[in-house]
């Protein structure tokens, strides 16, 4: 993605370089679209939910609010650790590895834990087609899970580059930016869908 982003930068002596490296700017623009995607999903959910008398619909299982609160904390902690890794990367790069790995592990924990929750909910009868409650739950949370998996994949790739000392700062910033989005959008989804 960022194979050429430093080549076209203006001559530093005569003009300031770009405010943001191209890979970071590109990621931010992509995140803008992603924010609007989730805004669309959430507003659709609110409209349908607003048209009902009782929510969740009668006969449908309740969502695991407390367990997911714990999982939310894990995801937020992961975002914090990745942020610390990014700070460390600007100074002593060797020190970034620890928080980076811990952040990755917590992110993976979040996805796996969500998987267990889904398995339990499916067993309790909440499926994609059992009600609009189930449809929206799996659609919204599933869309987020898909983003989390892709973002984790990018971070794992960045981690490999890092351990080979080939990770460029702008690539790392771009990868982190996408992870911050995945972390940052989750509390909104939690508040809207679970509570």
């Amino acid at each position: 993605m960022a194979q050429r982003d430093l080549r076209l930068v203006h001559d530093a002596a005569s003009e300031p370089g770009p405010i943001l490296p191209s890979s970071v700017l590109g990621t931010l623009i992509f995140v803008l679209t992603e924010i609007m995607l989730f805004a669309g999903l959430i507003s659709a959910f609110m409209i349908v939910r607003g048209g009902t008398v009782e929510w969740p619909p009668p006969g449908q299982p309740r969502l695991p609010v407390e367990a997911t609160a714990l999982n939310t904390a894990a995801l937020l902690a992961s975002g914090l650790l990745i942020w610390m890794a990014g700070r460390a990367y600007r100074g002593d790069r060797a020190q970034a590895g620890g928080p980076f790995a811990a952040g990755l592990a917590l992110g993976a924990f979040f996805v796996v834990f969500q998987g267990f929750e889904w398995a339990r909910l499916l067993a309790q009868g909440l499926t994609l087609t059992s009600s609009t409650h189930g449809s929206f739950f799996y659609l919204i949370v599933g869309t987020h899970a898909l983003h989390a998996i892709v973002a984790l994949g990018i971070l794992v790739w960045a981690f490999q580059l890092h351990s080979r000392r080939e990770l460029r700062p702008s690539t790392f910033t771009a990868a982190r930016t996408f992870w911050y989005f995945v972390v940052g959008v989750w509390p909104v989804l939690y508040l809207r869908v679970y509570l």
């Binding site: 993605m1 194979q3 050429r4 982003d5 080549r7 076209l8 930068v9 203006h10 001559d11 005569s14 003009e15 770009p18 405010i19 943001l20 490296p21 191209s22 700017l25 590109g26 623009i29 992509f30 803008l32 679209t33 992603e34 924010i35 609007m36 995607l37 989730f38 805004a39 669309g40 999903l41 507003s43 659709a44 409209i47 349908v48 048209g51 009902t52 619909p57 994609l128 087609t129 009600s131 609009t132 449809s135 929206f136 659609l139 869309t143």
Partner: protein, 568 residues
Amino acid sequence: MAETVHPAEQAAHGEHHEEGWVKKYLFSTDHKIIAMQYLFTGMAMGLIGAFFAYVFRMQLAFPGMEVPFFGVVSANEYNSLITNHGAIMIFWVAMPVLIAAFGNFLIPLMIGADDMVFPRINRLSYQIFFISALVLLASFFVEGGGFGGAWTAYPPLSANAAYSLTPMGATLWLVAVALEFVAFLLGGINFVTTLMNSRTKGMGIYDIPMVLWMIIIASILFMASVGPLIAGAVMLFMDQQVGTHFYDPTRGGDPLLWQHLFWFFGHPEVYVVLLPAMGIVADIMPVFARKKLFAYRTILWTAIGTGVLSFTVWAHHQFIAGIDPRMAHVFTITTLLISIPIAEMCFVYIATLYGGSIRLNTPMLWALAFVAEFLIGGVTGIFLGASGADIYFHDTYFVLAHFHYTFFPIAIIGTYAGVTFWFPKMFGRMMNDTLGKIHFWGTIIPFNLIFIPLFVLGAAGQHRRIYDFTNYPMLAEPWMQDLRVLATVSLVVMLAFQLVFFYNVIVSLVRGEKAGKNPWKSNTLEWTTESPPPHGNFGDQYPTVYRPPYEYSHPDREEDYWPQNLPN
């Protein structure tokens, strides 16, 4: 920008030239090749869309006749034809040509860069777009035929195969549209990043040619508005294929939800395609009026204001869908407000012409026609934006004629303006001006003869999406049928005149006069390099920018133009 290209890069550019034909023209990462791919794919899709229009117009003028090159049109085929005519013309013609083709071709050339920031993402963008076109074309040949639920795809018609009778076509259509969005998302990221980070030395933000601003603003509008529609499209797909009930009111869903998600995208989309066409016109007019573009910064901020406002007007498509009348008032006000910046831009263009030394070459004729025809589209939109009048006009041919008076200037006139203007740069040869003028008048006159009758029919109450008007006595009066025949005959005449254009393109490519670097005596950077530009665009020296792009007839200068890259 470094003053010279690194030797290693020059070697890289050289290597590209030695690549085989397939690698060079089909899998290239060169922005100019990708622009041509988008242009030719868009024009080919345009021919398909035009053929569809011909078939269903023949059916409306001569119900039940055997249409030449098609045969008798069944009701289902009619639905599929109108649906895909609309979808193709917007998603596979207007967007790829105006944004992707001109954006890809012009952005690096006009800002003095050698390519896009992410060339491989750029290539991927076209490849996904191409696949989306194939998926759409494939949908015409599956069981039940192509999707027939109108290009707006309202559920429950689109969500339930029992209603649409196109179980496969509806889903393939949706998949094709979704792929097309992905392609433009990748393209848009590239456009904005390239414009921000790759401008050559000296090019400040007010030195950027207006057409680039317009393409960039359009890309941002697209990326900011498409998210909710992707969300809605996923839900529609799941309703079709998985068995969910997002849009099914009998099972807790809400069919109106789709209309909101669709038009939240759909109305900014109008400006997504309008602004690039506005930009093309803004770049052509100063060249052929030999006069500075009037009020550069006003146009820029007006366009940004239009973009912001365009997110607040969407429910004017839903005045009769049962929305709260108080809400309808709000959307009436925002809709009427948005006509102000667009009218302002038209006045600014006229002010650019005022006192200029006008040359009526083919590109200028198209640019002038754009303003004139788009004005008719804009003014008739006022009636539809007012919720009271819209209750009567809704879903009539008045609406249809209105948006063709906006989209035809955008997608067809804007494209012809741009192609005839940049053809010398794209291919190194001039187009024949006489043939160009024959094509121009042969397009503009029939265009008005198609759609003015449709305004009259719409005002008389002729409803859209009716397969055969002879079934409705009040719509089957002889004078109404005469107007339908007039519109259809005009369409056939207009389509026939397009052959002049294709003949002109082919003859000019082979025998056209050599264009040289700067045939129009224009200021912007793309005219400072060879025609067609080599791989890497500017050879071993990037241009440096010293002034804004529209310094024509400057009093301190003997020549009436002042290229951006000249020190004095």
